[in-house]
């Protein structure tokens, strides 16, 4: 592969067991150690999600920190019966990134910003980053609900079940939202000349 990664430190992460994280979340209300474990475990995923929405490294780091601060403040309100800790944290991340989008300037994803933060499979990394930037800029023109749905599904690779938990709706509703978001994206792509009227790619 031969790619250069600056000071790679290594951590196993991913979809954790819900029970363990729920127990940790309860402890995190008064136990720093539990909170630190949750933070180090979820930071990469939450940061990745927010970066894909905001497209700006500094803003994304701030928003990720605010997400965890907010989570810590209201960790009492986390109810494992209503869903996993991961979904609960994603909900907060969505709200925080929405706030950031409301207060900040209209997002234009920067190629330079992302070239150093994203890694793509395949040889032509520059083309892959450009492709991601183009798509993200198109998604940024959609309404926030559609943005969230597309990022969760296609960039975060989330399944319908977890999306339903995060978006607090049924799986059928998730499916409908995805279809609507894709249609909106198709419309934007046509307006921008990415697609012909018949729907074929340019």
């Amino acid at each position: 592969m031969g790619s250069d990664v600056k000071g790679m430190e290594f951590a196993i992460g991913g979809a954790g067991t819900a029970d363990r994280d729920s127990a940790l979340a309860r402890e995190a209300a008064w136990d720093k150690d539990a909170f630190c474990r949750l933070y180090t475990s979820y930071y990469p995923r939450i940061y990745s999600f927010i970066l894909k929405r905001l497209g700006n490294v500094a803003d994304s780091e701030d928003a990720t920190s605010r997400t965890f601060e907010k989570a810590l403040r209201c960790i009492d309100s986390f109810d494992p019966c209503k869903g996993s800790f991961s979904s609960w944290l994603y909900k907060i991340a969505i709200n925080v990134s929405n706030d950031q989008l409301k207060t900040g300037l209209p997002t234009r994803v920067s190629l330079e910003e992302l070239a150093g933060a994203l890694v793509f499979q395949g040889e032509d990394s520059a083309a892959a980053v450009q492709s991601f930037v183009d798509v993200t800029n198109l998604i940024a023109r959609l309404d926030r609900g559609h943005q969230v749905v597309l990022v969760l599904k296609y960039f975060e690779g989330m399944g319908q079940e977890q999306m339903a938990e995060v978006l607090e709706c049924s799986r059928k509703a998730v499916s409908m939202r995805v279809t609507r978001a894709l249609k909106s994206l198709r419309k934007v792509m046509r307006e921008e000349g990415y697609l012909t009227v018949a729907g074929g790619g340019v």
Binding site: A11, E27, Y39, P44
Partner: protein, 406 residues
């Protein structure tokens, strides 16, 4: 949803989105730790149940209305204060009292208890007045009084002492574990295995209940796995800091309790992905995993050790039949989850249906599904267990064969 998208002509858009997805996102490890350190500094202000100040904790258990046994409480309080000072002198800090009830919850409980008592008193008074007005006789039942507040207070103090002892022991353990970075991976002087260290909950500094040191990288990171129908699925992520190049990652696996090493325990080819499914696992067994970052055929970094168990449920169903003077046993095996490895069966024969501890046993190979036993004068009970080495995977139901059956 795929068919629906195809019908609506959206599949191409979906393909475009999937193709644009980054393989992974790098983050700056130093900034992550700095942000965490800031949050940890403000933990007491932010966390709803935080109560890390020992003086506040001591005050919160002060016996306001306690008259008797106060001397005992005072003694406990003195012991606590002494321990706090001793701990502070050794450089440790009390960061959390997991066993102590958060202040907010305690206040809520007191409020609810007060409200309930008030309502009960009002109800009792109303009932008493109603009975008086009817002119009837009143029988007063003596109820057991609620537990004296002193009991609760002493219990809290005892919990505090236990929490304090745990913190003290973790500070001592931290001092023992503070080995130079170059010695990471070397055997620990106290004989603690790597798997045990991985399983032990730790903060980013590697210690329990101690303020994380942002400048020190974590010795062991949190690890995750998920079980799939085909095996154990591992996933990992990369973080960035100060500079190294690498060729790929390999997954290492060793039996539970053994730290996997490169290249002896390698189970995957060099790859660039962030996940791997180990489909060679045996149901019911536990494994230790590590992922090694490899450059020029040599490991340059290791992940923490992950202990994963391939869950499996084995069901053993035993039936019996009498043929002449012999008892014929037959059994069937079914399993859910990942396939276990059955290395043999043992048939137990006992005169008691409940106790097979001293029973006669017959070891049978993996392929065995039946067993014939000679007749016995009295009723005999049989049970079969499936084994994976010395480990019992499943125990069958008990069947009884009695002379009358013959």
């Amino acid at each position: 949803m795929g068919a629906s998208l195809r019908r609506r002509g959206l599949q191409e858009i979906e393909g475009l989105l999937r193709a644009a997805r980054p393989a992974w996102v790098l983050h700056d490890e130093a900034r992550l730790r700095a942000a965490l350190a800031q949050l940890v500094e403000r933990f007491d202000e932010l966390a709803p149940g935080a109560a890390s100040d020992p003086e506040t904790l001591l005050e919160s258990v002060a016996p306001v209305e306690v008259q008797h046994e106060e001397s005992v409480f005072r003694k406990n309080r003195e012991v606590l204060a002494g321990r706090f000072e001793e701990l502070a002198a050794r450089g440790g800090r009390i960061e959390a009292f997991g066993a102590a009830r958060p202040a907010r919850t305690r206040a809520r409980v007191v409020f609810q208890a007060g409200l309930a008592t008030g309502l009960a008193l009002l109800l009792g008074l109303g009932l008493f007045v109603a009975l008086l007005m009817r002119g009837g006789t009143t029988r007063v039942a003596v109820k057991r009084p609620p537990a004296h507040p002193a009991a609760r207070t002493h219990e809290t103090a005892a919990r505090l002492l236990r929490a304090l002892e745990q913190t003290e022991s973790s500070v001592s353990a931290a001092a023992r574990r503070a080995v130079p970075a170059g010695r990471r991976g070397a055997p620990e002087p106290d004989g603690e295995s790597a798997a045990e260290k991985a399983a032990e909950p730790r903060g980013p500094s590697g210690e329990r209940n101690v303020v994380p040191q942002p400048q020190e990288p974590p010795a062991v990171n949190l690890a995750y796995y998920t079980l799939t129908g085909s095996g154990i699925s591992l996933s990992w992520s990369f973080t960035a800091g100060a500079g190294a190049s690498w060729d790929g990652v390999v997954v290492l696996r060793a039996p539970s309790g053994v730290e996997p090493t490169y290249p002896a325990d390698r189970i995957s080819q060099e790859q660039s992905g962030t996940s791997f499914v180990d489909s060679t696992v045996v149901g019911g067994r536990s494994y230790c995993y590590r992922v090694a970052v490899v450059k020029n055929g040599a490991p340059v970094a290791y992940s923490g050790v992950l202990i994963a168990t391939a869950s499996s449920s084995v069901d053993l169903s035993l039936v019996s039949e009498v043929r002449g003077s012999h008892a014929l046993l037959g059994w069937s095996v079914s399993f859910g989850g990942l396939a276990p490895q059955i290395t043999g069966y043992t048939v137990y024969k006992s005169s008691s249906g409940s106790d097979f501890s001293g029973a006669a046993s017959f070891n049978l190979p993996t392929s065995a599904r039946s067993f014939t036993d000679d007749a016995s004068p009295g009723p005999c009970y049989y049970q079969v267990v499936a084994l994976d080495g010395a480990r019992v995977l499943a125990t069958s139901n008990t069947v009884c064969v009695s002379p009358s059956d013959r």
